[in-house]
Symmetry: none
Subunit: 311 residues, 2 copies
C-alpha cells in the first residue's frame, strides 16, 4: 500500500525533474546506484526511505549538498543519511557524494599547454584508430563545443555586438592562420549588407597599411585564440589607438585581445586529439550575421539573392 504510493511519487518527481536535451551518455555510476537503491528500497527503514526519495529527486544537486542539507531535505537526522550511505557500501556520506560529483565534472578540454597536448595524444594512441572513428570522435567534440556555446550563451554581449555593427561606418575584419578562414567568411557575409567592409588580409605584408585609415566610427572584428597571433593583436591595438570600436571574438576575458575589446564574445571550442574545432566560432559568427541582417531590416531576399548567395 505504502509501496504503491511510493512508486507513484517516484514517477511524478522524475517527470518534473527532466531537464533540457542531453547527449547520450554511458550508463553512469549514478544510474547504477539509483538502481541499487530502488532494489533495496522496501527493505530500508522508514527514515532511510525518505533519504532514498530525496536523493532520487535531487540527484542533480546531491553533489553540492552537505549531509545536513540532505538530512533536512529528507526530514531526518544527519546520522540517518550517513547510515544510508553506509548501507550501500560507502564509508559514509562523503564517499557516496563522490559518485554524484564525478558524474558532473564537466568536460573542458581547451587551453592545454603544448606539452600536455602531446602527452594526451600519445595516451590516446590514435595510430591504432580507424580514420572513420577519429572523424566521429572529432565530430563529437565539435558537438560538445556547440552545446557549450548554447549553454553559456551571453545574450547581453551578443546584443551589444550586434549594436556595435549596426552603428559602424566601416567594418574591418582581421584574423590570422587558423582563424583566418573565419574572418574571410565574415567579410564575405557582410558584403550582403550595405556596410563598407574591409578584410585585413595582410596580403603583401601590409597589415599596417590596411589598418591605417580606421577611424572612430569604425569597428574592427578581431578573432584570435591562444597562442594569440601577433598580427591580430597589432590590429586591435591600432584600432583602439584610433578610437575605433573593437569586437573581439576570443577564448577568454583575460587574454591579450580582451584588453582592447569594446565588446567581447567568448567561445570555447571542443577538441579531440589535441586539435581544436572551429565549429563554434563559425557558428557564432553566422549567428551574428543573421541577427545583424534582421536588425538592418534586410529581407532575406536582399541578403541572399538566389543564385548568388550560396557558395
Amino acid at each position: 500500500m505504502h509501496n504503491m504510493r511510493l512508486s507513484v511519487t517516484f514517477a511524478v518527481t522524475n517527470a518534473t525533474v527532466t531537464n533540457g536535451p542531453e547527449r547520450m551518455t554511458k550508463s553512469s555510476g549514478v544510474e547504477q546506484l539509483m538502481q541499487r537503491i530502488a532494489e533495496q528500497f522496501d527493505a530500508l527503514p522508514r527514515q532511510q526511505q525518505n533519504v532514498a526519495r530525496y536523493v532520487e529527486e535531487q540527484r542533480a544537486n546531491i553533489m553540492l549538498q552537505r549531509v545536513n542539507e540532505v538530512a533536512e531535505g529528507a526530514g531526518v537526522h544527519a546520522s540517518a543519511v550517513v547510515r544510508f550511505a553506509q548501507r550501500f557500501d560507502f564509508s559514509g556520506y562523503s564517499e557516496m557524494q563522490a559518485v554524484f560529483r564525478s558524474e558532473h565534472t564537466a568536460q573542458v578540454a581547451p587551453a592545454r599547454s603544448y606539452q600536455q597536448r602531446i602527452r594526451r595524444v600519445i595516451e590516446d594512441g590514435p595510430e591504432q584508430m580507424e580514420p572513420a572513428q577519429m572523424a566521429l570522435r572529432f565530430i563529437d567534440a565539435s558537438r560538445a563545443g556547440l552545446d557549450d556555446l548554447a549553454g553559456e550563451f551571453d545574450a547581453k554581449s551578443f546584443e551589444d555586438a550586434v549594436d556595435l555593427l549596426v552603428k559602424a561606418d566601416t567594418i574591418y575584419v582581421v584574423a590570422v592562420r587558423r582563424a583566418f578562414s573565419i574572418a574571410s567568411y565574415i567579410a564575405y557575409a557582410l558584403q550582403h549588407t550595405h556596410k563598407r567592409v574591409l578584410l585585413v588580409n595582410g596580403l603583401g605584408g601590409m597589415y599596417r597599411e590596411q589598418m591605417r585609415s580606421i577611424g572612430k566610427n569604425d569597428v574592427l572584428i578581431a578573432i584570435s585564440f591562444p597562442p594569440y597571433g601577433k598580427e591580430t593583436l597589432y590590429c586591435a591595438r591600432i584600432a583602439s589607438q584610433h578610437k575605433a570600436k573593437v569586437l573581439a571574438i576570443t577564448e577568454s576575458g583575460m587574454g591579450p585581445l580582451a584588453r582592447h575589446a569594446s565588446v567581447l564574445l567568448k567561445v570555447r571550442e571542443g577538441s579531440a586529439f589535441a586539435f581544436r574545432a572551429l565549429t563554434s566560432t563559425i557558428c557564432l559568427c553566422q549567428a551574428l550575421f543573421v541577427a545583424l541582417a534582421y536588425k538592418l531590416e534586410l529581407t532575406v531576399e536582399e541578403t541572399t539573392p538566389p543564385g548568388e548567395y550560396d557558395d
Copy 2:
C-alpha cells in the same frame, strides 16, 4: 513483487530523464563576477592571474572544487586562492564558491528548457525576435546539422577520401563565395603536412591559370553547394580533364559537382531563417585533416609547431 514494480518505475524514468547541464542564458552572478575579474585582471599579481584564468576556464566546475583543487589547477598555493577571492570582496574562497553553487541550483528550478524557448521564438516570428533568440535558434540549427553529420556518417567514403589525399602529389583546393572560407581553412591546415598545397583563390581572376598545371597524380578538393558556383565547377572539369582525382564536398550525389568526383563526401547543413550553416562542412574538413595527419604519421611537432599552430 512490489519491488519489481518499483524498480521498473525507476528503470523507465531513468531512461527518460536526462539531467545534463541546463541551457540558459546567463546574465547571472557568475557572469558578473567574470566581468569584474576580467576588468581587474591586469592589476592582479601573477599568481592571482593564474587563478583568474583557471576560474574562468573551470567556471562550470568551481562549485565542486575545493580550494586545494583550484590551487593545484592554477599552479599556486591555496592561500593565493583565498587572497584572490578576498580581493573580489568575498570573505574567502567559500563565499566566492557560493556564487557558483547558487548558479547551479537556480538552474534546476526554473527548468525552462532550451527547446521550449526555441519553440516560443518560432511562434513569435523573427520580426519581433531579440537578436539573442535568433542566435540560439541558429546555434540549434547548427547542432542539428552536426547531429546529422554524425548520424549519416559514411565511413567508407571518408576513408577513401583520406586515401586519396595520402596518395596525392599536389593538393589543389577550390571553393568560392560562402564556401571559400572552408577552402582557405583546408589549405591552411594542409600546410602542416609535407604535401604541396595550392589554394585556387582566383586572385586577379586567374582560376584558369592556377589550375593549368594540375596533373594525374594530383587531387582537387572542391567544395560547393547549391546554387553551385561556376568557378568551382570549372575547376572540377579541368581537373578531370587532366586526369586528376577530385574530392567533392557537396550536398548531394546528383548535383553537378558529383559528376566529376572520384570521391564524394555529402554534407547536409542545418539552416535557420533561410540561412545555411557552415558548421558541419568545416567540422568534416577538420576531421578529414586530423585523420590525414595521423595517416601520414606526422608527429605532433610537425603538425603543430608551438606558438604557430593555433590561430
